[in-house]
């Protein structure tokens, strides 16, 4: 089974890249596999992953470990389960600092208190000695962020960092991530299913379908002039706060299982614009704004205009 297939992606310094897709699209797996977080014996990753010019695939576990947590920080979806329940949050942050830096326990703890303050946790001196269950969901996510930032990482990978949170908390966390990116000069890879979140924070967007990139481009380009029919469907399916439409655009069928991806274009079975050429697997094409679809630019402009006019293609 190919959970991820043929993903090429580069993240520039201080850039925010959003990876968007539905469940099973391989957006998390791709990041985890690059970082060696998938431990199962039957996982194999081929290709090349370079971080600051250094090849990561095939790197020994102990060298990879040095990068993880120090140069590459991670934030996960569910803050309720992301922290070890039996240790104080300050201890958990200090543990990471001491794993990478030669500092005393007291120094690490002091740094943990500073970090908790920086991510907006009130009374960090007191909170540092509390256990995860004594924090609310939003506050726990702040703790996870503080931990990810503890060694000033150059790259931050955030996997659905706000999905489990309420709207107002989500706003707080997104704002915090933006602010911290400025202070820490980190690049961010943001994995999410929410086009809205992507639109708020990403510089560049990768749309994934069935483990393959369907479309890659600047945020504005992808959201305003999407090229791939799957992106059209995704954008049309989001109910909007600003305007009300009578019907939502839908993509017929359900996301394809990575166990049986079609040989040609993975999206073809759900695509209403498919034609003979789609039996062949499309490659990413384009200049800056890439997409994997056999339709010509003229066809896309024409079809897209029609789709927007009728409010979708249900």
């Amino acid at each position: 089974m190919h959970a991820v297939d043929g993903l090429s992606l580069s993240v520039g310094r201080k850039e925010v890249v959003g990876i968007v897709g539905e469940s099973g699209s391989g957006k998390s797996v791709s990041m985890y596999s690059m970082l060696g977080l998938l431990r199962e014996a039957n996982v194999s990753v081929t290709g090349s992953v370079k971080f600051e010019g250094r090849e990561l695939l095939g790197l020994a576990d102990r060298e990879m470990r040095v990068l993880r947590g120090r140069d590459i920080g991670m934030i996960f979806q569910d803050p309720m389960t992301a922290l070890t329940p039996v240790y104080k949050v300050g201890w958990q942050i200090a543990e990471q600092i001491r794993a990478h830096q030669d500092v005393t326990k007291a120094q690490a703890r002091q740094r943990a208190i500073e970090l908790l303050g920086e991510v907006g946790i009130p009374e960090p001196h007191r909170r540092v000695d509390q256990f995860p269950h004594e924090f609310s969901g939003g506050m726990r996510q702040r703790v996870v962020i503080a931990m990810a930032l503890s060694c000033n990482p150059k790259l931050l990978i955030a996997d659905e960092p706000t999905t489990a949170l309420d709207v107002t908390t989500q706003a707080q966390i997104l704002e915090l991530m933006g602010k911290l990116q400025d202070t820490y000069d980190s690049s961010i890879v943001l994995i999410t299913h929410d086009m809205g979140v992507i639109s708020e924070i990403a510089d560049r967007v990768v749309v994934m379908y069935a483990g393959r990139p369907a479309e890659i481009g600047d945020r504005r380009a992808v959201i305003r002039t999407p090229q791939h029919p799957y992106t059209w469907g995704l954008l049309g399916a989001v109910p909007r706060v600003e305007t009300k439409r009578s019907r939502l655009a839908t993509i017929p069928g359900t996301p394809v299982s990575p166990l049986n991806v079609p040989t040609g274009c993975a999206f073809a079975p759900r695509c209403e614009h498919r034609f003979e050429k789609c039996d062949e697997r499309p490659t990413l094409r384009g200049d800056g704004h890439l997409d994997a679809c056999w339709l010509t630019i003229e066809q896309k402009v024409h079809l897209r205009a029609g789709a927007v006019e009728t409010g979708g293609h249900a």
Partner: protein, 322 residues
């Protein structure tokens, strides 16, 4: 934390009080049964029955009977057997308890070390040859009954190979720790191993399952993302969280073993412990002794559970609030 411990022990005392009432009611207030005749034994004379009636206040109201009973059990400690006339129950239990305690404590140390080490090694080597090997040894240890294993051990160490490699093994029996610590350990070595085998097998298997679950938890993924070593993740994060279920298992096992469940091992190795005492009393229908051992067993089960709950509080901060 102090309040938590205090509260836990107050509730343990209340539970023991309720158990004493329950035991009393079962023995003395079961409708349609004459407790005097039962206590006096199978072939008692009417005089003995009358004496029992008087001694236990069986002609008086229930609360007074309960008071008298507790007086005999705990204050005067002169509850005596009518089957083996003259045998006082409490001194018997007091003599048997150190034997059982020695047996179970030693075995517990062995099975905790072996079980936890086995579970951790198996979990750390998932998918390799050593993991199924440990799990197989575990299931083998669980499947072998203690009395059979004990007999085999006895057969080998006491007769078959006693003249060669096992010549140092002393005959069955018990030597008090206070009289000769070396002999104490030597006499108990094979009983310890026999009793520990079953529990080491169970604990290794349970711990491995818990660890494998824990290693799939989100917090382990976080720990990996932090750049910690696999060893540290396994021992400091996964094991620490998995120990919680091992501790609760241990509390139950330890309490019931001290309370008399080590009976088979005691009988096989000729150790005069509480299990054997209960066993003999049951054979003779010696009611006062049965009652005494039941109270004693309940006491240890409740105590062990209280200790486990306190240990829980140390292991899992979420419990302290509840």
């Amino acid at each position: 934390m102090g309040v938590f411990i205090l509260r836990r022990f107050v509730s343990a005392i209340l539970v023991m009080f309720s158990i004493s009432i329950l035991v009393f009611l079962i023995f003395f207030a079961t409708p349609g049964v004459d407790p005097a005749a039962r206590i006096a034994g199978r072939s008692a004379t009417p005089q003995v029955v009358a004496q029992v009636k008087h001694e236990f206040g069986l002609d008086r109201p229930l609360p007074i009977r309960y008071g008298l009973m507790m007086d005999h059990l705990f204050i005067k400690q002169d509850l005596s057997s009518y089957v083996n006339v003259g045998y006082k129950v409490i001194p018997q239990i007091e003599a048997a308890a150190p034997v059982t305690l020695s047996l179970v404590l030693g075995a517990a140390v062995i099975w905790l070390i072996v079980g936890v080490a086995g579970g951790v090694i198996a979990a750390a080597n998932r998918g390799k040859f050593i993991d199924p090997l440990i799990m197989f040894l575990g299931i083998a240890a669980i499947s072998v009954p203690a009395y059979w294993l004990g007999q085999v051990v006895n057969l080998i160490t006491q007769s078959k190979l006693h003249s060669s490699i096992f010549s140092w093994v002393p005959p069955s029996g018990y030597v008090a720790l206070s009289s000769n610590p070396g002999e104490w350990a030597l006499h108990l070595l094979f009983p310890w191993l026999t009793l520990a085998a079953l529990y080491a097998g169970i604990y290794a298997r349970v711990l491995r399952a818990e660890l494998v679950n824990a290693l799939n938890e989100d917090y382990v993924r976080t720990a990996r993302a932090k750049g910690l070593s696999e060893r540290r993740i396994l021992l400091r994060h996964a094991l620490r969280c998995s120990l919680i279920s091992i501790v609760s298992l241990f509390g139950l096992d330890f309490g019931s073993l001290i309370g008399g469940a080590a009976l088979l091992t005691e009988v096989v190795f000729g150790l005069p412990g509480v299990g054997q005492l209960t066993y003999t009393a049951l054979q003779n229908l010696d009611l006062p002794v049965i009652m005494g051992t039941v109270m004693y067993g309940a006491f240890f089960v409740v105590l062990a559970n209280a200790v486990v709950d306190v240990a829980y509080g140390f292991l899992d901060p979420r419990v302290r609030l509840a």
